[in-house]
Amino acid sequence: MFKAKVIIKRRPSILDPQGKAVEKGAQHLGLTNIRNTRIGKYIEFDVLSDNREEAEKEVNDYCNKLLANPIMEDYEFTLEEVK
């Protein structure tokens, strides 16, 4: 079995109004050095397979078809074998 950890990021070219709004909060906190706040998603799950290649394929499918929208998001993931 593998533990998959996926990070989904908004593409750099896409505005992130949420990140902007949160960064305003940083300014209100007096954190003057914070810039370029962008908010993404972290998703983890198990993959019931003993074959890394097969597991990677399935995670890619999951990401491309459902977890991320390729028009506005990029994803990356790690697969850690769990015994």
Binding site: I14, L15, P17, Q18, L66, L67, N69, I71, M72
Partner: protein, 233 residues
């Protein structure tokens, strides 16, 4: 042909009954609900994907609804030329399903915006807009959404413009399109688009909420009447 409408019901749809009411009680046509777990379209010839918060808007708006059993049938139906109109969350589902291009981002204000807006009809020769009188500079229809900020790449926008696929733009009451009247940050003030074939419309504003004169506005009727006329004549 006598039109028969089908309103798809997802868990979290909340404008399904409004749409049903308008078709049946106000316009007097046949309509049925289509449950998301079914794949039988019950011989309808128009499908309405209603507004709401299907599957709690989890992950991304429309992302999970797109994989419900009924959507496979809806995608087939649309690809064969069947008439589909997606309203608000329904529009978001059409984008996720790839039946229309682009995505919806969070409103630029980060606010959920619920108010009447004016729309300029950019293409009156579609089967969804033919009944909008040419002297109407703008139609008044409410919006109610948190993610209606339409985004697409420059290539896609150009294609939409070149093929006359932009049907509605946010405007003032005289039909003038400007940044000041853009309620959500949509590129080019886009409020509604159709596919290339012209049989699938997605729009963020809610025409079904502007059909009953008791509510003080009836411009939404033009859209449903256009579809009905297209099918009956």
């Amino acid at each position: 042909m006598k039109p028969k409408f089908g309103v798809v019901v997802f868990p979290g749809s909340n404008c399904d009954h409004d749409a049903y009411f308008v078709i049946k009680k106000i316009l007097g046509h046949e309509v049925t609900f289509l449950w998301h777990k079914e794949n039988n379209l019950d011989d309808v010839n128009v499908i309405i994907l209603p507004g709401g918060f299907s599957y709690g808007d989890y992950l991304r708006t429309g992302a999970i609804a797109r994989f419900s059993p009924i959507m496979n049938s809806v995608i087939d139906f649309a690809n064969k030329g069947g008439i589909v109109i997606g309203i608000c969350n329904g529009f978001q589902i059409l984008l996720e399903a790839g039946l229309l291009p682009g995505v919806m981002l969070r409103n630029i204000s980060l606010q959920f915006v619920c108010k009447d807006v004016y729309l300029s009809t950019e293409n009156t020769s579609t089967l969804f807009t033919s009944e909008i009188p040419s002297e109407k500079k703008a139609i008044k229809i409410p919006i109610a959404h948190g993610e209606g900020n339409y985004f697409a790449t420059e290539d896609v926008l150009k294609e939409l413009e070149d093929n006359n696929q932009i049907v509605f733009k946010y405007s003032d009451s005289n039909g003038v399109v400007s940044d000041e009247v853009n309620p959500n940050g949509s590129l080019l003030n886009i409020a509604g688009i159709i596919n290339k074939k012209g049989n699938v419309l997605g729009m963020m504003p809610h025409p079904e909420r502007a059909c009953d004169s008791v509510l003080g506005k009836t411009d939404g009727q033009f859209i449903f009447k256009s579809i009905i006329n297209y099918l009956t004549n």
